[in-house]
Symmetry: C2
Subunit: 161 residues, 2 copies
């Protein structure tokens, strides 16, 4: 049954069919990786209807921050979640779909500057709405819990200092 399938994957042990964790910290690491995969899969389902990927959406969202101004590739890359994203190639695909325009900067000719087309603005708006609605209805935590979660995620990374 449908319900059964879903109950099974909420617990990490069921999702990866293992309960052999060294400790809770080990389990946390796997849980973060699994939840990230779950998040990406959820948004991919939404975005597929609009013909773009999670990463392409991320670039459009970043460009929106400066719209109608241009952004250079380096600035986009610095705002990406995955720091080794190959931004020029993501731009290639957005350009093919006429969602962005790319041109050489006249100030610094090494730079390529990119901006959203009206089509891109339009698509982004629809995608954002769908994603926001999905998050509001399908993510089963409240604002308070999200704050705790954010604090813990930032704590796990804090040893780098």
């Amino acid at each position: 049954m449908h319900v059964c399938t879903y109950i099974c994957v909420v617990k990490l042990e069921q999702a990866i069919q293992s309960n052999k964790f060294k400790d809770e910290v080990h389990k946390s690491a796997l849980n973060i990786l699994y939840t990230a995969w779950w998040l990406k899969t959820q948004s991919a389902i939404i975005l597929k209807q609009f013909g773009i990927t999670h990463e392409q959406f991320n670039v459009l969202r970043i460009l929106k921050g400066k719209h109608p101004d241009d952004m250079c590739v380096r600035d986009i890359a610095g705002r990406m979640i995955e720091k080794n994203s190959n931004v020029p190639r993501i731009i290639d695909r957005l350009e093919l779909k006429k969602l962005v325009e790319r041109k050489q900067s006249q100030i610094d000719k090494r730079e390529t500057v990119i901006h959203l087309t009206p089509l891109g603005v339009n698509l982004l708006e629809k995608c954002s709405e769908a994603i926001d609605t999905h998050r509001a209805t399908e993510f089963a935590i409240n604002n308070e819990e999200a704050m705790q979660l954010n604090a813990l995620l930032e704590k796990i990374r804090s040893k780098e200092v």
Copy 2:
């Protein structure tokens, strides 16, 4: 300076150079994705010394669970963190490195069964030790906090029921 660089990326706002989050739940989603990227990057640095990737390590770890018995591709796939992993191709690379052996099942000839070689067992042991040490020393949360984190991550996914 080194310290400065690292302080900057602990906070999500600095890591992705944005503080325009709709709410804490939105920020949580980005924080989970960023932390997952951070975790993968950290383990990639460790595993590169041993010549394998994060995903290849994951498959070796899964095979260890049944060692010295075989596992079929489907069983491995069911235990992967990323559920759409293309397991046959990960096995291809492990086989090339002589870390696993693959043969047709005699019980069900559709199945390919895989087991670790002594070389694979040996490499996995070294990798696991390095990864475990890294986690113990570099992940700045204790067991109690990890339990809270696990509970919150499972809660965020619980609406699927």
